[in-house]
């Protein structure tokens, strides 16, 4: 089986702090995968390395067999590997629909598209996806006026709008009203199944990740500590140690 994303012995340090110590993981195409670990274990650093937010010190990162560790953020995004942010990032001065329509996949657009009006098909797709995440009634509001949880959903919808092959989600449930989490999980599953998008999810909420992911990677102190099926990970003494030890 060829992996969709291959992270091979990636090393990244900030000054003297080694945030990722030779991390290796292979994420196959098609499923939902979890990335867990205590605070400061290097999860977000790994995400940033993958999408090109900062250079890596050593190692290689391949997406669909292509080396991407030297590409820049927009180039990687255009390959179909997108991420969402832990602190949501949306275009706060624009309406939800506007946020959506400029998030269409850029790779198919050429120079002439620059000055075009927004195609009706894009508008329709934007509204469908807003409906999908439950923001349709709010579609003409300024995105900055939405609540934090709604902004998170909008960011997710924007990512879907560009039709990525793989999505890296940084704590999708953090800051979301607990009663809405189940609905969100349902949507993530549908994103995976209906849209065929591979998901790699950073998550703190153990119950959520064990429920959602079919395979889990656990980082601790910048190293890959364990990987396996959720049930195995839950039993793994090293993982339990890492979590309990960090408290």
């Amino acid at each position: 089986m060829t992996a969709m994303l291959e992270v091979d012995r990636v090393r990244k340090s900030f000054g003297g702090l080694l945030a990722n110590k030779d991390v290796t993981l292979r994420v196959p195409a098609g499923g939902i995968f979890g990335l867990i670990g205590p605070n400061g274990s290097g999860k977000t650093t790994l995400f940033n390395s993958i999408v090109g937010q900062h250079p890596i010190d050593a190692g290689s990162i391949r997406f669909e067999g292509r080396e991407i560790s030297r590409l820049r953020v927009p180039e990687i995004a255009r390959l179909g590997l997108l991420r969402t942010f832990q602190q949501t990032r949306i275009y706060s001065g624009m309406t939800c629909v506007q946020n959506m329509v400029i998030s269409v996949a850029v790779s198919g657009l050429d120079w002439s598209s620059m000055f075009q009006r927004v195609p009706t098909a894009d508008l329709r797709k934007a509204e469908e996806l807003l409906e999908f995440v439950g923001l349709f009634p709010k579609r003409h509001l300024r995105a900055g006026d939405l609540s934090f949880g709604q902004q998170k959903l909008l960011e997710l919808a924007m990512a879907l709008m560009s039709g990525p092959k793989m999505l890296l989600l940084d704590e999708p449930t953090a800051g979301i009203n607990p009663t809405l989490i189940n609905g969100l999980l349902e949507r993530l599953r549908r994103i995976n199944e209906q849209f065929g998008i591979t998901l790699l999810v950073i998550e703190h909420n153990m119950r959520v990740i064990m429920n959602l992911a079919r395979y889990v990677y656990c980082l601790a102190h910048g190293e890959l500590l364990a990987e396996g099926k959720p049930a195995e990970i839950q039993q793994d003494p090293r993982v339990l140690d890492a979590y309990l030890g960090s408290r």
């Binding site: 995004a77 990032r89 275009y91 001065g93 400029i102 996949a105 850029v106 620059m114 003409h140």
Partner: protein, 320 residues
């Protein structure tokens, strides 16, 4: 809708007959249209894209000098020389913007502001030392051939045409994908990059469009004033360069009509009260900048939009 169309028609008629109604104010009114172009082109970057430039006057100066050089060295008749010169000036300004774009537009926030400030002043200093363009003495464009007073009328209509083209072009740009992407860059450029948008391409194009209109107006203003000084007219960072920013902010950054409004208010106020200040004009201008920026940074339209959001197409709660 009917009312609006009537208002627009009235404005057009007024603009067309104004030189005959107020013949003594033709030059001032021509400069008003230039101010409108200044504010609009500044806002394309500053307001819509969030790149606050202090150096846009660079393109104005380049257009002015290139136009004058073509007129001087080209041995054309007056009108062909003027139009070829203006075209060459606009092309040169766009070329400068395109070349500088990838470097300068990669600077964020205050670095961009100060970098462009340096750019504008450096250009003035270079022109002020370069003998080919008359160094500190400046240049004098060729004399207008027509009868006395014809020059003012001609340039009035030229400047009017310039403003009348700039506004709808920008309006058209803002209505499509281009405007949306500029707004996205303003709101969160890192997010725009993370979504794969080709931000550099958009930013450079925006700067080039801005430079195009500024280059054209440079050619016109050089000939209208009949004299080009490197630091006081062409690359006048601390007058035209700051006025652009001030007018756009005064009217309301990031709106289509705000810069127009700001330019009108600023220019009219300036022309009406300037003479009473007896040598304190520039002091007053500095004071005005501080006061507007400190106390009224949202601008006229920005203030109106906060007051009556529904008039500006913003919805507050989820209507269908």
């Amino acid at each position: 809708m009917k009312l609006r169309r009537g208002a627009v028609a009235a404005c057009v008629v007024l603009a067309l007959v104004a030189p005959y109604l107020f013949p003594n104010w033709r030059t001032q009114m021509a400069l008003l249209f230039i101010m409108i172009v200044f504010a609009l082109t500044w806002d394309l970057l500053g307001g819509q894209m969030g790149y606050n430039s202090f150096g846009n006057v660079l393109f104005f100066g380049v257009g002015m000098y290139v136009c004058a050089i073509v007129q001087r060295n080209g041995h054309f008749a007056y009108y062909p020389g003027l139009f070829l010169g203006s075209a060459a000036g606009a092309v040169a300004a766009v070329a400068v913007a395109a070349v500088l774009g990838s470097g300068i537009l990669g600077l964020r926030g205050h670095y961009f502001a100060i970098g462009t400030l340096g750019l504008g002043i450096a250009a003035g200093e270079l022109a002020g030392g370069w003998d080919f363009v008359g160094a500190g003495g400046g240049m004098v464009p060729p004399l207008f051939p027509g009868e006395l007073g014809g020059r003012e009328t001609f340039f009035y209509y030229l400047c009017l045409a310039l403003a009348a083209v700039t506004l709808p072009v920008l309006r058209w740009l803002y209505s499509g994908r281009f405007g949306l992407v500029l707004n996205a860059i303003r709101d969160d450029e890192d997010k725009a990059e993370a979504m794969g948008l080709r931000t550099t391409r958009y930013k450079t194009t925006a700067w080039c469009i801005s430079a195009f209109f500024l280059g054209l107006s440079g050619g016109a203003v050089g000939n209208l004033l009949g004299f080009i000084d490197p630091r006081e007219v062409a690359f006048a960072v601390d007058t035209f360069g700051v006025w652009m920013v001030l007018m756009a902010i005064l009217g309301g950054k990031g709106t289509l009509w705000g810069p127009v409004l700001g330019a009108v208010v600023f220019h009219v106020t300036k022309e009406l009260f300037w003479t009473y200040l007896l040598g304190w004009q520039r002091v007053a201008l500095g004071l005005l900048i501080v006061v507007i920026v400190v106390f009224f940074p949202v601008g006229i339209l920005g203030w109106a939009r906060e007051r009556w959001p529904e008039r500006f197409g913003h919805r507050i709660e989820g209507a269908p």
